[in-house]
């Protein structure tokens, strides 16, 4: 049994401090310890992307990161993007354009898509498919997911232009 270590995380803007074994996987920390259950556990082999979150500006699969590695970092999950009364444009677009399907992959899809649109605000369909390649939808609803991301990009670009 390894010793517990002191972990500091900033999750969705809130500082968290706790003791944990270094081997605890970050996805478990968030779900079981911090009750942040948006990111899901899917394949646990870094294929499916259901556990995708943004860590210090990178899209990361949290089933393949030890909590010890994440200590000192900032984490954004789907909960940090928008709430029930204040949906992120991607959340609205997924709802509007039937990108949700069963919804299991959705938090990872939206968290990844948010980062993708930050890096490339005007992605082509091909760029969306390439940029979302690490997220698998078992309902195979990809067409509407792509449409939703395109719609959100249009919406976000229009909002940005209006603000300028």
């Amino acid at each position: 049994m390894s010793n517990k270590m002191h972990i500091k995380l900033n999750v969705n803007g809130k500082d968290e401090e706790f003791l944990a074994e270094p081997r605890e996987l970050l996805i478990y920390t968030l779900r079981e310890r911090l009750n942040i259950t948006g990111p899901h556990i899917g394949c646990e082999t870094s294929h499916c992307g259901a556990c995708t979150m943004t860590i210090d500006g990178k899209s990361v699969k949290a089933c393949t990161m030890f909590v010890a590695q994440a200590s000192g970092k900032s984490v954004t999950t789907i909960e940090g993007l928008g709430g029930p009364d204040d949906l992120h444009p991607l959340q609205s677009a997924f709802k509007e354009h039937h990108g949700l399907q069963c919804g299991y992959c959705t938090p990872g899809m939206i968290t990844r898509a948010a980062k993708l649109l930050e890096e490339n605000p005007n992605p082509s369909e091909e760029e969306i498919r390439f940029g979302m390649a690490g997220n698998i939808c078992r309902c195979t609803g990809y067409q509407n997911i792509v449409k939703s991301i395109q719609a959100a990009a249009t919406e976000m670009n229009a909002a940005k232009e209006a603000a300028e």
Binding site: M1, S2, N3, M5, E21, P22, R23, E24, L25, E44, T45, S46, H47, G49, T52, K58, S59, V60, K61, C63, T64, M65, F66, A68, Q69, R112, L116, G131, M132, A133, G134
Partner: protein, 284 residues
Amino acid sequence: MIPAAFEYHRPTDMDGVLAVLAEHGDDARVMAGGHSLIPMMKLRMADVPHLIDLQDVGGMSDIELGSDSIRIGALVTQADIIDHEGLAKAAPILREAALQIADPQVRYMGTVGGNVANGDPGNDMPGLMQCLDASFTVVGPDGERDIPAREFYEAAYMTAREDDEVLTSVTIPMPKGGYAYEKQKRKIGDYATAAAAVQITKDGGSCASAAIAMTNLSDTPIFSDAAGAALVGTSLDDAALKVAVAAMLGDIDPTEDNRGPIAFKKHVAGVILRRAIERAWSRA
């Protein structure tokens, strides 16, 4: 999937890393992005009582473009390779290969150093580095030494790096001529069924030099001297391509697994190499 317990070390300099390695020997492993090691630990196929996380060790995250060589720090990620405009100009084969590794989330974490040091025959960077005649710098208790990529791989997960050494950087002579990294995989995120790295220079209408390396077709990456030699002096006509492919097939030693039987892998290797040579030639 919870790995066995381990002691976690996050030293802030290389002396600290080497001290943990010296103290724990075989029981300690260094980790960069962790995207090869962590899945193995979760499957309990790797037992690492002392895990050394390199993320806080400085000086290994830079891409330096010199006049005749390129130095890439071990902690440079695949995403860093893809994003670096200067590198894409100087050695475009690196971006072409990096874009074919895993998926975006994995490329944010996976590092060049981890990819080449791990000795996994499925990894893409080792064959590429052999094609480019790169050398790997390792540091240990007796200081630094350089090991040519073409001499680094001994067997699956067995390399010329000693247990108490850490791979710190990769140095690549400035590549010349046309290039291609061609990879066949079953699906996004998969390792290669077969992949080929090719770098070719042209003199008039004939091939002046050719370097060819193959991925995941033996228990190490395979630099096929004979395949490259078969192209030199030719105009890369069909006959020359056939000789090169035959020479490559003589150098690889694939095994049957869930990517297919041996005959299939050899067939795919031939197709992939032919494509890579043709594309590299068209860019030379």
